[in-house]
Amino acid sequence: MIINSRFFNRSELVGFLALALLLFLVLPLSLDIFRLNLVAKYLTYAFVGIGLVLCWGYGGILSLGQGVFFGLGGYCMAMYLKLEASSVANTKIQSTPGIPDFMDWNQLTSLPFFWKPFHSFPVALIAIIVVPAIFSFIIGAAMFKRRVGGVYFAIITQAIAAIMTILIVGQQGYTGGINGITDLRTLHGWDIRTDHAKYILYFVEVVLLFGCIVAAQFIRLTKLGRILVAMREQEDRVRFSGYSVANFKIFAFCAAAVFAAIGGAMFTLEVGFMSPSFVGIVPSIEMVIYTAVGGRMSIFGAVWGALLVNFAKTSLSESFPQLWLFGLGALFIAVVLAFPNGLSGIWADHVQPRIDRLLASRKPKPAAGYVADGAPAE
């Protein structure tokens, strides 16, 4: 295995520490709980972004359907929370007490079979990972074994996102329809709506996020990561070298799906509901945009992209309720046109060299060390 002698090279380490400092110290100390909860919401998209960096940035597989996996994770969590909130005591006003309110409105009289396992918290947690993994494996196996890739794959994932939305909206007795699953209250008896709970959830989420960052970095540095990059550049050569290209692609796609699902589950906890508006084509494309703005080659870039774009979205819409969408659109176009590698590209091309020069002029040191250490030219 070709693994760098160090897990992070120097600039990555700086990036890692800066992000850790920001998320663990600066933001919790400087923001009130309302804004911190918003940051927590933004960060749920960072999970999707990290997955997209692996699968799109490194593996070259553009998925326009990550909302599906975000939604699957979110719905698995929401189903558990909803069942807990729909105790017989809470729902005694309904014709059938003990089932979620939207089922009662849709004349269901008993809990559908696929909801029953979600009474159990461990099952729900496992489902959050396993359901999207299996689903993405099926899609991946069906596509990549047949050598469907590139634009075709992107279009198919987009179609799946559309189908998923229609399915959820159409089966409202089972899924809550367009309203989604709302009014979630407790997690295993613990009220998730209090300020205290929001702080704890925020830190849980940040820890999970760093877990995903480390996992993604690990994948990147192993032979697997190298093969992903090789595949992106010269798929045929990799195939002729005897590797099963399809299996590597399936793996990258599944990993991205699982990351997205963790983000979705955290989203449900942070925001308190889940609805089909995170599953469809538009949110899926938005998730790709966050990654593009942050820089699809950089794991940290994806996190920054999700944070900054969502922050811009909130603050623009607060200041200019009627015009903000135009501003946001202009921002995307500007970033993508002027800086195809996103924010991390700007950093790597313009900021990093200056810092290096500054450091170098202060403390002369052979530049060769950086080159050998630096990320491979991608």
Binding site: V169, N179, L184, S275
Partner: protein
């Protein structure tokens, strides 16, 4: 302006400066109330697919706030509003609702339109103890201390209309149509129960739903032509209406001969459908722009003066206009901005200046209001055909209809 023609309002005692109660007395929970100002929130979609529907509500709320300020404000305080955009996106609604309550400490929020957006913000209002004035006719099955529902709930809108069409048109068979989400489904459920259990010898001959935004209605129109129902009962929302009514017309169904009763098409939607495509259809709701009463005759010109001659005023726009007024009257009854006191004082508050005539808040936080049937004319307006003699009681959890 409308003030002169709102006699009930101008007769209310106007607090002079000496009468203005101290802020510490009327605001014990830290809301955004100063000696001269009180902050309320406006939370609707002004971007995205719902913007076309919700803009009217925003305009009506701003008009009401301006009129209230011109008449001396609330407890001697001018209303200042903070507007947020829900962007037709339910989580955004929840986020902005939280911002308005937690950050801005709004004393009340006028907002939401779709059921989905209300469901998304409801836990926020209950958790942070805010007050929401919700303007849309909706499916019922909900009641909250923190919400005043200024539109009709389903039974108010449905039962009187069905009774009317049964009596005056002798209708016996009904074909139910709807967009596929909670409001049309619940409404049709109530309609079906009423038709089957309460109307003599009546039956439902078909019931179908279409995805939101659907534009293909030809197959159901063919079925309608085969089954020949006495009444087409249509709860199709938004842009789908344009396709539905055009395709009906193209299929040769003449609405002057075939009775069609809708509860989802207001003057706003006719703007998009085109009056000539829907002329002859009946709508059952509580307000039409053409209502002939003194309040409405002042309201319509005031609205047009502020927002342009071409604007039309639909049922929901009028209900949105009620929000700030009802809140003002409730605050003055409670002599406090505190949410708990406003919620407790709400039942029994009456607004005699309502463009629809007269409304009163029920114990269950919905409004007593009259139900009206109008017939669409080619010029895009409804002509009033029938109105209930008395105010209809709101019943969000109707026994026997669930």
């Amino acid at each position: 302006m409308g003030m002169a023609a709102l006699p009930a309002i101008s007769m209310l005692p106007r607090p002079s400066f000496a009468d203005v109660p101290a802020t510490s007395a009327v605001n014990t929970t830290g809301l955004a109330v100063t000696d001269s100002e009180v902050t309320v929130g406006i939370l609707h979609s002004v971007t995205g697919t719902m913007a076309i529907s919700e803009t009217g509500s925003v305009e009506a709320e701003k008009l009401a706030i301006e009129q209230i300020n011109a008449a001396g404000g609330v407890l001697g305080r001018k209303i200042k509003f903070i507007q947020e955009d829900g962007a037709s996106d339910w989580p955004t609604f929840a986020e902005k609702a939280k911002k308005l309550l937690v950050n801005d400490k709004c004393a009340a929020v006028m907002g939401c339109w779709t059921s989905a957006s209300r469901k998304a913000v409801l836990p926020v209002f209950e958790q942070y103890n805010g007050m929401l004035y919700y303007p849309t006719f909706y499916e019922g099955l909900e009641q909250s201390k923190n919400v005043i529902y200024t539109g009709q709930e389903a039974t108010q809108q449905i039962i009187a209309g069905l009774d009317w069409v049964n009596k005056t048109k002798g209708a016996k068979s009904f074909y139910l149509l709807g967009s596929d989400y909670i409001w049309p489904r619940t409404s049709n459920k109530i309609a079906r129960k009423h038709i089957e259990n309460h109307l003599q010898g009546c039956k439902v001959v078909g019931e179908e739903y279409f995805p939101l935004g659907s534009t293909q209605f030809n197959s159901v129109i063919n079925k309608i032509k085969l089954t020949k129902p006495d009444v087409i009962y249509a709860i199709i929302v938004g842009g789908s209406n344009v396709a539905f009514y055009k395709q009906l017309k193209a299929a040769g169904i003449d609405l002057s001969k075939q009775t069609l009763l809708t509860i989802s098409v207001t003057e706003d939607e006719i703007d998009g459908i085109g009056g000539e495509n829907i002329a002859g259809a009946y709508a059952c709701m509580k307000y039409f722009q053409s209502l002939d009463n003194a309040n409405n005759k002042a309201f319509v010109p005031a609205f047009k003066k502020m927002w342009g001659e071409k604007t039309v005023i639909g049922d929901v726009t009028q209900a949105a206009y009620l929000g700030p007024w009802l809140w003002k009257l409730t605050v003055e009854k409670a002599q406090s901005f505190d949410i708990d006191k406003v919620a407790a004082a709400s039942p029994g508050v009456e607004f005699k200046g309502a463009p629809e005539g007269y409304v009163r808040i029920h114990e269950n936080h919905h409004l007593w209001s009259k139900t009206r049937v109008g017939r669409a004319k080619a010029d895009g307006q409804y002509e009033l055909i029938y109105e209930t003699a008395d105010l209809v009681e709101p019943d969000p959890f109707p026994k026997g209809y669930q």
